[in-house]
């Protein structure tokens, strides 16, 4: 369940930039070949963010497709998994996309106006 550790690193990456500001939405990129399961991250997110500035934030996860290029024939492929096999028969396929694992951006909550005394 490495998603727990990786979700924890979401909180660290965000708060390093946003400090004390309350966060309303978090956008992640989790590639389909990254080895990380988005549903498991969603499962952990509420638990991990409880008591932090990310508590209650909406979690959007973009899942870029796996892509590769055959080094033998040059064909560009969509990769559904890490079993790399080009229709030409070669297994020498370079993975060019799908391993992304990053925090893209966040939306901060509007700052509530201070009450006038």
């Amino acid at each position: 369940m490495h998603e727990l550790a990786i979700t924890q690193s979401v909180v660290e990456a965000v708060t390093a930039r946003t400090g004390e500001a309350a966060v309303a939405r978090v956008r992640l990129r989790v590639g389909r070949l990254s080895g990380v399961v988005p549903d498991a991250m969603r499962f952990c997110f509420e638990l991990i963010t409880d008591g932090t500035t990310l508590a209650g934030a909406r979690l959007d996860i973009e899942q870029p497709d796996g892509r590769g290029r055959c080094r033998s024939c040059g064909t560009e492929l969509v990769l559904r998994d890490l079993i790399l096999l080009c229709p030409c028969g070669s297994a020498d396929v370079e993975v060019t996309a799908g391993r992304e694992l990053a925090v893209a951006s966040v939306d901060l909550c509007p700052i509530e106006p201070k009450e006038m005394v």
Binding site: M1, H2, L4, A5, I6, Q8, S9, V10, E12, A13, V14, T15, A16, R17, T18, G19, E20, A21, L28, G35, V36, L47, I48, D81, L82, I83, L84, L85, A91, D92, L101, A102, V103, A104, S105, V106, D107, L108, C109, P110, I111
Partner: protein, 267 residues
């Protein structure tokens, strides 16, 4: 907060050196970096969208880079052994230590959720050993390795084996700063594990296929297992061996003895 399970300060991670049987190793401990960077100053928050664009494993990879630099400066070769539980990692290490002992100083960092069992087995060989117990954690990370290295205090130009937590999933994603990743798979696990756990086998620099002495008793084809390794990692080096009989062990020792000062190709 703990990066593994979100619990308190150190996340229940326990790092302890086992006292050697015979003598204290007489060198001075050189300490890996403490990784104490000044805290980043957060930007003044402004409502709206903030671009972050930070890799989620950036912190681990940064710490792994520190480990890699620290090890390289001292000529220490660290190898990260990963496998499912029961593939024979500890037995492989015991035989390796015994074989190399006359010529090479070997230290071991053991990772398990609980117990000192593996560290005690290694200690019986006379090699210095540190046990990391991860509690609920399912893998070692670069910070745990830095702590393990501080405890172990490996001598310059030595070989350090890191026995990761037995798990074919999670450890694949965490760079520790090792020189190479060694995945151990035993023939009793069947020939399909590289296909079922492709991330682990794709990350490997070397696959050790253990327990080949049992092949006559199993409905497992070694050629299929090799082919499945190559399906996810075409260039990976594959070393079939038996820790029990010693068959294939020379090739493993030759690989360990090769020149580590230059970057290695996978073939």
């Amino acid at each position: 907060m703990c990066a593994t399970c979100g619990c308190g300060e150190t996340g229940g991670i326990r790092v302890q050196a086992l006292a050697p049987h015979e003598h204290e190793h007489p060198h001075e401990h050189a300490h890996p970096p403490e990784h104490e960077h000044p805290p980043e100053h957060p930007h003044e928050p402004v409502p709206g969208t903030v671009e972050i664009e930070t890799a989620l494993l950036a912190k681990n990879d940064h710490l792994a880079g520190h480990n890699r630099g620290w090890l390289a400066e001292r000529g220490i070769v660290a190898l990260n052994l990963m496998s499912s539980p029961g593939s024979g990692k500890t037995s492989l290490l015991r035989r390796t230590i015994t074989t190399l002992a006359p010529t090479r100083v070997v230290g071991v960092i053991e990772g398990d959720q609980e117990t000192l069992i593996d560290a005690q087995k290694i200690r019986a060989t006379g090699a210095p050993v540190v046990q990391i117990n991860t509690g609920s954690g399912c893998h070692l990370d670069a910070d745990m390795l830095a702590r393990g290295l501080r405890e172990l205090g490996p001598v310059d130009d030595s070989l350090v084996f890191i026995e990761n937590v037995g798990n074919l999933v999670c450890p694949a994603l965490f760079d520790l700063g090792e020189a190479a990743k060694v995945v151990v798979v035993s023939v009793t696990e069947g020939d399909d594990k590289p296909l079922k756990y492709p991330h682990m086998f794709a990350a490997a620099d070397v696959v050790v296929i253990n327990k080949i002495d049992l092949l006559p008793y199993l409905d497992v084809d070694l050629a299929d297992l090799v082919a499945h390794c190559r399906a996810v990692n075409p260039a990976v080096r594959i070393l079939p061996l038996s820790v029990t009989t010693g068959e294939g062990f020379d090739a493993w020792c030759e690989w360990l003895a090769a020149d580590w000062s230059a970057p290695r190709a996978r073939t």
